[in-house]
């Protein structure tokens, strides 16, 4: 019998380890990392239902001698106006990001696909991908050069047009728009490349056949290319919707920081939890909000994934 294909009889973990000592040995660092930072973190969820005491912070003390308070931490959060505000902001901003990001990325991908000049395609791709790599902090500086009160180029432009300069960093109402633009600026290029890869995967005989039948470029794009990448668009969008409860802490904190005047439109669950933990110093409260986010987020992720699997069996994440 071919020894390379093990028979279907299951063998125990111990004898499996004995047989593949080396393989299990090199697995250890990664396994230890995941156990420590992920699996051991799950018992800590209990502190959402406790009043946390820093003197009793190991897992056993938390589970067996914690100060249980039931749903008090949740009640406290939901009784405040912050709960609905940060939840709304998180979902609303993500919704705007998904909608605008998908439309622009697909448009860019379709147009990039139609470009005839090789060098122009290459250069413009290289440029539009660059913002993707820089950190949100650097982005915040770039934003400052545009919107800074005194020196920002936008205010200078408004001055030269005879309009009164605007104090952008104290006007909450303009920030959803600014955030959307910054998001597009940083991310649309990379998303477009992903859709472009989907376009490249289309069987070229389809387009050739349409060309022979006399279809023009616009018809080919809208009747053949677009429908054929629709599964990719739907899958990517659904998976993004699954993560709609999770805000981008890095983005919001780097661009808004501790600027309280902008919280009304920009404060999201993640920044709120961060402040509850690091500035207010109340881990139990922070954990309760975070758990609320994780549970709803988990349901959304699974729901969207189930939907993807139903629509496109090959596209599901798991």
């Amino acid at each position: 019998m071919n020894r390379m294909s093990p028979d279907k009889r299951r063998i125990g973990l111990v004898s499996d380890i004995r047989r593949n000592r080396f393989s299990y040995l090199i697995l250890l660092p990664a396994a230890a990392y995941v156990i420590i930072f992920s699996y051991l973190s799950y018992p800590y969820i209990a502190i959402a239902f406790q009043r946390f005491d820093y003197r009793k912070s190991n897992i056993f003390q938390i589970l067996f001698s914690g100060n249980w308070v039931g749903f008090k931490n949740f009640e406290f959060f939901f009784a405040s106006q912050n709960a609905s505000l940060v939840t709304y902001n998180t979902v609303y901003l993500n919704f705007l990001f998904i909608l605008t990001g998908t439309v622009l990325a697909v448009l860019l991908a379709l147009l990039l696909n139609e470009l005839r000049s090789k060098w122009f395609t290459k250069i413009s791709q290289s440029i539009m991908l660059f913002p993707n790599y820089i950190s949100w902090i650097v982005v915040s500086y770039i934003l400052l050069s545009l919107f800074s009160n005194e020196y920002g180029i936008v205010n200078r432009l408004m001055l030269s047009l005879g309009q009164a300069p605007k104090n952008w960093y104290t006007d909450a109402s303009v920030w959803p728009g600014i955030l959307v633009i910054v998001r597009l600026w940083k991310g649309a290029g990379m998303s477009a490349i992903i859709y472009l890869a989907a376009i490249a995967g289309i069987d070229s005989t389809m387009r050739e056949a349409a060309e022979i039948d006399g279809a023009n470029r616009f018809q080919i794009t809208t009747r053949i290319t677009l429908p054929l990448i629709t599964p990719t668009i739907v899958i990517m969008t659904l998976l993004a919707i699954g993560r709609i409860m999770f805000g981008d802490f890095g983005m919001i904190y780097a661009l808004i920081g501790d600027n309280g005047t902008l919280y009304r439109t920009t404060d999201i669950i993640d920044t709120y939890v961060f402040r509850a933990l690091r500035q207010v110093g109340d881990p139990s409260q922070a954990m309760a909000i975070s758990l609320f986010q994780s549970v709803i987020g988990f349901i959304m992720v699974f729901g969207s994934n189930a939907l993807v699997r139903k629509l496109y069996p090959d596209g599901a994440l798991y």
């Binding site: 697995l27 420590i36 502190i47 005194e150 881990p283």
Partner: protein
């Protein structure tokens, strides 16, 4: 003589109105991506007085490299932060690559009976995350606080997503490689280090760039776990610099006071510019390997 019987398709004209409009749109977007960064670079080379008079401008009245001169002086906090970031990025990326590719070999090893379950073991944390609170408590308990380990170990040292990326690549290598090596008397250690890992170098380059960029751009570990100014990586230093300045600025703006901005405008922008340095340096590799990984990771084949 051979007779060509190909249906002649009218070739697209290279120069047409449609092509021009498409190129215009793409070009405009690319320009929008580029210009704000160009502005930042120009401001960093602008004379401080010119900024005070005219604000930030694409066409400065007076150029100056004074900001860079100040920054590259020995002992400046910017240089220190830069050094810390470089060190953390280099060491962290190396260890991360090692941990990930070794574990990936096991997951791709069909002789390991339980590799399916092991895969699930690594998959669960990707789906359910307990959030930042347990993470913070665990890190502080492990003593990952106010030291270089706190910048190196949490969050960035291992990522299951990258593990699966390498696993999938290794699973795609032909089984006959392992078979013939085994017949020649090679054990697992030899097969992993001499065959599988060398053959997986393209995907290892990809995850290396993922990890490297993650380390270089990280400030999360610093904001959560480090208070000691001497240990601030460059990104976090940049954040601190900005919030100090903007606070001062807002106060002045409200009080209508004169111009007293201690760390000057050009230095601020110059610090942001040098932070992009390594990314520019590695750009050809990013274009090649990073994008490949993004595409493979986003659209499952």
């Amino acid at each position: 003589m051979q007779q060509e019987t190909v249906v002649k398709i009218k070739p697209h004209k290279k120069y047409s109105l449609a092509n021009f409009l498409i190129a215009l749109f793409i070009g405009a977007f690319a320009l929008m991506c580029l210009l704000p960064m160009v502005l930042t670079v120009i401001v960093s080379f602008t004379d401080e007085g010119a900024i005070m008079r005219n604000g930030y401008s694409f066409f400065p009245e007076k150029w100056s490299a004074y900001a860079y001169k100040l920054m590259f002086q020995g002992g400046s906090s910017v240089m220190r932060g830069y050094g810390i970031s470089l060190l953390i990025t280099f060491v962290g990326t190396l260890i991360a690559i090692l941990i990930t590719s070794l574990a990936a070999y096991t997951l791709a090893n069909k002789r390991v009976e339980h590799c399916g379950k092991i895969g699930l073991f690594f998959f669960v944390p990707m789906v359910f995350n307990a959030g930042m609170v347990p993470w913070y408590l665990i890190c502080t308990r492990l003593g990952l606080r106010n030291n270089l380990w706190a910048l190196l170990i949490p969050n960035l040292l291992f990522n299951p997503f990258n593990l699966f990326l390498v696993r999938n690549y290794m699973s795609g290598l032909p089984d006959s490689l392992r078979e013939s090596a085994t017949i020649d008397g090679a054990n697992d250690a030899v097969i992993a280090t001499r065959i599988y890992i060398p053959l997986s170098l393209p995907v290892i380059a990809t995850i290396g760039l993922f990890y490297g960029l993650g380390y270089w751009n990280d400030w999360w570990n610093a904001i959560m776990l480090v208070d000691n100014k001497k240990l601030f990586p460059i990104q976090y230093l940049l954040l601190q610099l900005r919030s100090q300045i903007s606070m001062l600025r807002d106060l002045q703006y409200m009080a209508g006071a004169g111009y007293v901005t201690p760390p000057s405008e050009s230095i601020k922008m110059a610090t942001a510019v040098i932070t992009i340095g390594p990314i520019v340096l590695l750009y050809p590799f990013l274009q090649r390997y990073y994008i490949k990984g993004m595409v493979v990771g986003a659209v499952k084949e």
